[in-house]
């Protein structure tokens, strides 16, 4: 296979921080090339340099035999290099079709032709087998659907190189399979594909070669067929990481019920949902995208309101109208969208951890920052949060460490009911297993966890019990001993008339 792209000796610094040093990467026509590495290894940065979003400090990019340097995304796009970004880049107030074709509107003289745009979009979705209405506003879609629109948008550009930066993070298993179909199709068309993901299974399934990065440098490139999961992980983290699914629940049958939800309803998003959470249990919530899990979590936490339903904490009925109430009842919530809802990137690690309740750290009306720093340093040590100081701005931490800060925030509150919504979304294997260890420690300490996850392996590895949701309803409640990928999938795709 002929090479389409070579990146040689790429350097990049943000201010004094060097994030890429002497990175090399090459891509052939018609191959799927995985780019792997821990959070903050520099994968996205490298791809952003390729697509003209960042400028490089040193190095060469050779594309189709010529040295190129793009200074804005449009030039790269015009040259046939497109990227599906790690973060969603949707314009919520425009329609799906308008989003897909932004910058490439159909014209009727000087006027835009939305009719034609809708048709083109519909054709595109039909071809890609996606069920998305081109005329609705993007803001009304679920995260997963938005991600599909992003993918469709990239593919519609007839590019020669497509970069997927963690496209599967927001997708459920079925959608990932759809995506793989699309990728195989692109391969057929001799298009070069860069695929960034933290999910090991996917690498085996879809990629031809793997390039691993660590701390801003390339560790090496290997053919996928010649390698194993363990090898890749070792390259990424420099050590072995084991991964074993749970086989039976560790929760005693007579454990106390710490949280009970009865007949919760919220429009069409949550319908008649009832369940119990036991002390020391990790209760997994599985389901397809938009199944209503996040909504359920937000309602319990008081971020949204239900139409009806009752919530009992330690047997007492509680009325949670806002997050403040939930916190009072010992409930903590780790959001699926960390940047938007979880952390305050413009504040320090310390401020983020103690944000909820500053009363413990005041002398009279004044805040005692020394006391805060000392307390947070303790958390940082316990959770092994990688940060030069508790005064570091949170935005400067990697994703996994940001996630740990959020966990620290709820430990700080001594919350004993923790809702983890996609706790490892976009987090690398190294940090991932640390978070798993942390969760296990937490339940050992007697805390209870609701874990919402779209990653089947994660659900099977961590949960004591699994609730499967579909279209707002609970379709199954499985003990871990009875659960398997197959039966979870069956319940997750169950329609209303069956359930």
């Amino acid at each position: 296979m002929e090479s389409i792209l070579e990146m040689n000796g790429i350097d990049k610094s943000f201010g004094p921080v060097k994030v890429l040093s002497n990175v090399s990467f090459d891509l052939r026509r018609g191959e799927v090339h995985a780019l792997m590495g821990e959070n903050g290894a520099g994968k996205s940065t490298l791809m952003k340099i390729l697509t003209g979003i960042f400028s490089k400090d040193a190095g060469k990019i050779i594309y189709e035999g010529n040295e190129v340097e793009y200074t804005n995304p449009k030039d790269a796009m015009d040259a046939g290099i497109v990227i599906v970004h790690q973060e969603l880049n949707m314009i919520n107030h425009l329609t799906v079709a308008q989003n897909v074709f932004i910058g490439r509107e159909s014209m009727n003289g000087i006027l835009t032709d939305d009719h034609d745009l809708n048709h083109k979009a519909q054709e595109l979705f039909d071809r890609l087998n996606m069920d998305i209405n081109p005329k609705v506003k993007v803001g009304s879609l679920t995260v997963g659907k938005m991600q599909m629109v992003e993918i469709a948008k990239a593919i519609s550009m007839n590019a020669k190189i497509v970069v997927f930066d963690e496209p599967s993070a927001a997708l459920t298993e079925t959608e990932i399979q759809e995506l793989f179909k699309i990728i195989r199709d692109l391969k057929q068309q001799n298009i070069g594909i860069v695929y960034i993901s933290h999910r090991m299974d996917e690498i085996k399934q879809i990629t031809d070669r793997v390039t691993v990065m660590r701390d801003g440098a390339t560790v090496g490139t290997i053919d996928t067929v010649d390698t194993t999961k363990a090898k890749i992980i070792k390259m990424m983290v420099g050590r072995e990481v084991s991964e074993t699914p749970k086989t039976e629940s560790t929760v005693p049958t007579d454990a106390e019920t710490v949280l009970q939800v009865v007949n919760m309803n919220a429009g069409k998003r949550v319908i008649d949902l009832s369940f119990e959470l036991k002390k020391g249990e990790i209760l997994g919530f599985s389901g397809l995208m938009g199944a209503g899990r996040t909504e359920m979590a937000r309602i319990i936490f008081g971020a949204d309101t239900a139409d009806s339903g009752e919530i009992y904490v330690h047997g007492q009925q509680v009325h949670i109208r806002k997050p403040v109430d939930a916190v009072k009842h010992g409930i903590g919530y780790l959001s699926e969208d960390r940047k938007q809802f979880g952390v305050i990137v413009g504040m320090s690690v310390a401020d983020n951890v103690v944000l909820t309740d500053l009363n413990r750290y005041t002398n009279g009306p004044l805040i005692n920052d020394h006391k805060i720093n000392a307390a947070v340093e303790q958390h940082v040590k316990e959770l092994r949060i990688k940060t030069p100081s508790v005064k570091q701005l949170l935005g400067n931490l990697s994703g996994g460490n940001q996630q740990k800060v959020v966990i620290a925030k709820w430990l700080e509150q001594a919350s004993d009911i923790l809702i983890f919504d996609e706790p490892t979304r976009g987090i690398d294997v190294g940090a991932k297993s640390e978070i798993y260890d942390l969760m296990n420690n937490l339940v050992d300490m007697g805390k209870s966890i609701i874990m919402i996850s779209s990653e089947m392996t994660e659900i099977l590895r961590m949960s004591d019990r699994i609730i499967v949701m579909s279209e707002g309803r609970k379709t199954a409640e499985l003990d871990i001993a009875d659960a398997s990928q197959e039966n979870i999938m069956t319940y997750a795709t169950m329609r209303e008339e069956i359930g």
Binding site: N89, H93, I102, G103, E105, L111, T112
Partner: protein
Amino acid sequence: MAQTIKKAKIKSTESTYTKITNAIGLQQIVILIVLILIYALFAAASPAFRSGNTMTSIMDASYYVGFLGLGVTFVIITGGIDLSIGTSMMCAAITGGVVYNELHAPVWVALVVIMVMATGVGLINGILVAKFKLPPFIATLGTMMITRGLGSIISNVKTETFPLRGSANGWYKSIFRTDGNFPTGVILLVVMAILASVVLNHTKVGRYIFAIGSNREATRLSGVNVVTSEAMAYVIAGFFAGLAAIAYAATYTTIMPGTGAGFEMDGIAAVVVGGTSLAGGVGSIVGTFIGVFIMTVLKVGLPYLDLQPHYQIFITGFVVLLAVYVDIYRNRKANK
């Protein structure tokens, strides 16, 4: 067969779409009802308001606010604000007066100068905001001060008088009101509103203005030249400030130096009352159009209730708060 199935699929989704457009229309219907209610209230309360030339008064008072509102709608949809439109309008108008009176140019030249000047200020705002990334509030606060001073410098702090109706050069007045008192200006206002609506909804620049207001970074990453499009919104606001200046000159004949501060708030209030969101990404020309008339009907109508001026301002403040609250409340309900 497959063909028919596809058609049916599109049809069924079409109805969701219709629902959404209906929802957008609803917003405008709500404020239209508010407008009609206010009008009816005044008509019921004051015989003088019902009779006579009230309509002409309302029209006269609405031209410049209307143009300011139409223009600044574009800026507000980008998520920005333009505080300079009021002073820039008066600066352009007085400069036109200087060109006519001091340089003895024909009236049409003065009008062209007005348009060029106001649009130029818009361009400067656009460059400051889109290119140099100054926050719109402060960038346009700066140009507001500058244009306020500039008008006085150019005119040497003299009041400029445009040609009177009936005089040899008074023809331009008929653009807005014929000698027979027919408010022709409303035709111009409607035509410009339609034009603005087409630009906003059916051209690339309009599309990008919405996109920028909704998510500037995503728009940029999609390969759109956001700097040009964002700047264009300010240029359009400047252009409309020019039209407002001409309307002002035609309606009020004389232009005093140093004035115009405060007019921008009338325009902005009309836009927001019309349902355009200050957060950007959402807005409509029809809404602004209705918002403008809510403001001017209040302004013209309240004096007919023989209310003293301070009560008028007081009540207008309440109406603005109420209108915006109703809009937000409705939106929140709709999103539930």
